[in-house]
């Protein structure tokens, strides 16, 4: 036998002894190792391994961690952080939305503080790119990380479509502060949307309400009868334009041209020329910046569209957009933003929140959904704190299914956007929308606050006109 072979046999022998030693070792050692890290754990593998040996003998010893539900659970070691993540559009052209939302999350973390003595870790912010591809890759990256309990996102509905099933498979809840596509939750008639899964919730409104309310305002209040619609292919924009068109047609109006642009388009002359051929009274364009900017800037140069009524939506409710002189006289549908005096879960008012936002980031909020995202984060942290079970040595055990169930049963939760109550399909927002009119591009904040129409969801899911006050 060669010297090399002898060494090989010796190595195998050492390995066998090591395995035997490990098998006969003290269980406590293994438990200590497990507790020192945050790990996904299921009840089957851990429930019987640890017993509270120091418990009072007069009380029934309580197993820790408790038996996990079907989605498993997360054991957080003493002093280790609670892991949550964000998946928002933080690059490309809609970064102003996602960055704004991440700031909402950061402020919420600051206000909520630790969860039962454990700090909260946001990890690395993932980017949904406002695209399905970004949602899928971001969700995959997060789902691969250990111990993530919940994710705040996505910014765009299109990114949520592929992200939801990935998170569902990992037992992670996803709460969005800005997804508004109706298929992500329900039609308010008890029918689940085609993209709904039971790990998804949102604090933003449902576009069925916004589209219908926007159409009612256009038909009844503005007296428009022929409309053109423009979307950009994103499920949010196409869904909203479709919802608007449906109600507008039901009211007796006509959609003369329903067309679309690419998000990166700059020259809008072709699309506006296409619309001009239909001779509309107004154009509803629920899209994002910068495409929305280019449309309002170029529409005046198109023959036949000089006097057309322009009508945008929440993706364009930003100070940047409202400071364009061409937006004077343009209407915008979107979430009702009249919540200055509302106090959130920790008592923080929206007015204070905006002041802190400006102090922290050196600018006013760049979009409308930071407040909804603030509430989404608060809701998640509150739910984690509520379902978490504390261990004898400062550990935390969070059951994923219990967390999901708790979130779905949240009611009358005080948010800065209003009182939040989640329905059986994860719609938690107040579903109050408004139409605003920009009158002065030198004062965009006044335009954003200039509400001319309010509507909300009635008990049967129908649109109810609300008083302006």
């Amino acid at each position: 036998m060669s010297k090399k072979m002898k060494f090989r046999h010796l190595g195998v022998l050492v390995l066998v002894f090591a395995l035997i030693a490990a098998a006969c070792g003290d269980d406590d050692t293994a438990d200590t190792t497990t507790a020192a890290t945050t790990a996904d754990t299921t009840a089957d593998t851990t429930a019987d391994t640890t017993a509270d040996t120091t418990a009072d003998t007069t009380m029934a010893p309580m197993a820790f961690p408790p038996e996990a539900g079907a989605w498993g659970g997360v054991l957080i070691a003493a002093g280790a952080p609670v892991e949550i993540r964000t998946l928002q559009a933080i690059s490309e052209s809609v970064a102003f939305l996602g960055v704004d939302q991440n700031r909402g999350t950061e402020l919420a973390l600051e206000d909520f503080g630790d969860v039962l003595g454990h700090p909260v870790n946001l990890g690395t912010a993932e980017d949904d790119l406002c695209l399905g591809e970004g949602g899928a890759s971001g969700a995959t990256a997060i789902a691969a990380q250990e111990g993530v309990l919940g994710v705040i996102g996505t910014t765009c509905s299109g990114a949520a479509f592929p992200a939801i099933p990935i998170f569902h498979a990992a037992g992670i809840v996803l709460i969005s502060g800005s997804n508004t596509n109706a298929t992500l939750t329900s039609d308010f008639q008890g029918n689940a949307g085609e993209n709904w899964m039971n790990n998804y919730l949102r604090t933003a409104h449902n576009d069925l309400i916004q589209g219908a309310a926007a159409a009612i305002f256009a038909y009844d209040n503005l007296g428009l009868r022929k409309m053109g619609t423009i979307h950009d292919g994103d499920p949010y924009t196409s869904g909203l334009a479709g919802s608007f068109g449906l109600t507008f047609t039901e009211l007796g109006g006509e959609i003369v041209v329903a067309t679309s642009v690419a998000k990166e388009d700059t020259n809008m002359v072709p699309v506006l020329t296409e619309i001009a051929a239909g001779e509309p009274d107004g154009i509803y364009f629920p899209i994002f910046q910068p495409a929305g900017d280019f449309i309002v800037q170029q529409v005046g140069g198109i023959s036949g569209l000089e006097d057309v009524q322009m009508y945008g939506a929440d993706g364009l409710i930003t100070p940047d957009h409202f400071s364009l002189p061409e937006t004077e006289g343009v209407y915008y549908s979107g979430p009702d933003l009249g919540f200055d005096a509302n106090a959130g879960f920790t008592g923080e008012t929206y007015t204070n929140l905006v002041a802190r936002y400006e102090a922290a980031y050196g600018e006013l909020p760049t979009a409308a959904f930071h407040a909804h995202t603030y509430d989404a984060t608060m809701m998640l942290l509150f739910a984690i704190e509520s379902v978490a079970v504390e261990g004898p040595d400062g550990e935390l055990w969070v059951d994923r299914l219990a967390l999901r169930d708790f979130l779905y049963n949240i009611s009358d939760f005080a948010g800065v956007t209003g009182t939040l109550t989640c329905d059986e399909f994860g719609d938690c927002g107040g579903n109050v929308v408004s139409v605003i009119l920009n009158l002065d591009s030198d004062d965009p904040q006044a335009g954003i606050g200039n509400v001319v129409f309010r509507a909300g969801k009635g008990a049967g899911g129908e649109v109810v006109i609300l008083p302006l006050g």
Partner: protein
């Protein structure tokens, strides 16, 4: 032997691929012609955009005029950007994918000059001075970014395989893009509206044209002529052409290759800077991603016109601008395809494929170095 081989060679040349390409050529031609003129007398068939216009249902004559001029203005800017791709390809033989960001840098930095002029009232009271200075700021910025990119990222890779500088240029593109995002934020910068003298329409030979579009077309045409004269008549221009022809021989003849390559980047950058201001004047919104799509379109224009060919770059730009502006409504709408405007990029890139199928060297032909021809 040669006589015996000739018929076989001819037969091989017109094989399956050739037949397929001819089928594509004929199919594309039929598709375009039917889209424009329709199929008369066929109920339910394509109406044709021209027929729709004549019957008063489709796009009006005025609208076709606007589309055409808009396409010319857009194409002029593509042409200016394409020059940067073509010049660099001419001397170095690789595509500088960071050129779109060179364009963006000029547009973004010059915003601050334009905004300051607007705030001070000079934009309106002295429009030529204000616009001229803004263009100078953009040219300086784009030139510096282009030259630094060459000096830092590409010069050391001069002798390496072409794939390496190509990948480096993609990396530089992202680096510049996100550096500018870090410097200036991700919000959209709104250029001041065109000065009063450029508002409204001007009538040229009886045709009404928006003055901003006219400015873009005229400034790009003048810039193109100046550049052409520079390359054709000056000593440095001759050096550029010599390096484009054969770098080694040019070096042996005493041409300072590094200096001339830097100059080439500088000239391409300056043209991109001018295009940046014109872009902002026309579309009025700039931010850190402004360079991405125009960069891709500029590259496409350079290929359509004939890569390495300066005049080709400009002609290619005009062609791409016109095709993407007029094409969707002229061809696709005639077939009854809905929401055709969203397909303008598809139409533009299809045009690239078709041009390469009909004429593989581009509209005006490639200008390749001895090494590449060899």
């Amino acid at each position: 032997m040669k006589l015996l081989k000739l018929p076989q060679q001819r037969k091989r040349r017109f094989g399956f691929v050739d037949s397929f390409l001819w089928a594509v050529r004929i199919g594309a031609l039929v598709f375009v012609v039917v889209g424009i003129f329709g199929i008369p007398g066929v109920a339910g068939g394509p109406e044709g955009s021209l027929f729709k216009t004549l019957s008063g249902e489709g796009v009006s004559g005025e609208a076709w005029r606007d589309l055409f001029i808009s396409g010319l203005a857009q194409g002029s800017m593509y042409g200016m950007i394409a020059l940067g791709y073509s010049l660099v390809y001419g001397v170095l033989g690789f595509i500088n994918f960071a050129h779109g960001e060179v364009f963006m840098s000029g547009a973004l930095v010059s915003f601050f000059a334009a905004d300051a002029f607007a705030t001070a009232g000079i934009w309106e009271s002295q429009p030529v001075l204000a616009l001229g200075f803004t263009i100078l700021v953009a040219m300086a910025t784009s030139t510096i970014v282009a030259v630094l990119t060459e000096r830092i990222a590409y010069r050391r890779l001069r002798g390496s395989p072409r794939l390496i500088p190509l990948i480096t240029s993609i990396g530089m593109s992202f680096f510049i893009r996100y550096t500018f995002r870090g410097l200036f934020g991700d919000s959209f910068k709104t250029y001041p509206a065109a000065p009063g003298v450029l508002e409204g329409r001007a009538t040229i030979f009886g045709v009404e044209i928006l003055k901003t579009q006219l400015t873009v077309i005229v400034v790009t045409a003048v810039s193109m002529v100046v550049l052409y004269q520079f390359v054709a008549r000056t000593r440095m221009g001759r050096a550029m052409r010599a390096i484009a022809e054969d770098r080694e021989i040019a070096a042996l003849m005493g041409v300072n290759v590094d200096r001339v390559i830097s100059l080439t980047f500088a000239v391409g950058g300056a043209m991109a800077g001018i295009a940046g201001v014109l872009w902002a004047l026309l579309f009025r919104q700039v931010h850190f991603l402004t360079g991405f799509l125009p960069g891709i379109k500029g590259f496409t224009a350079a290929v359509v016109g004939g890569i390495g060919n300066m005049a080709g770059a400009y002609v290619g730009g005009l062609a791409i601008g016109l095709v993407e502006s007029v094409g969707p409504l002229l061809v696709l709408d005639g077939w009854g395809i809905p929401a055709v405007s969203q397909l303008k990029d598809v139409v533009a890139f299809s045009a690239l494929v078709l041009v390469l199928i009909y004429r593989p060297t581009g509209l005006l032909g490639e200008r390749l170095s001895v090494e590449e021809r060899g």
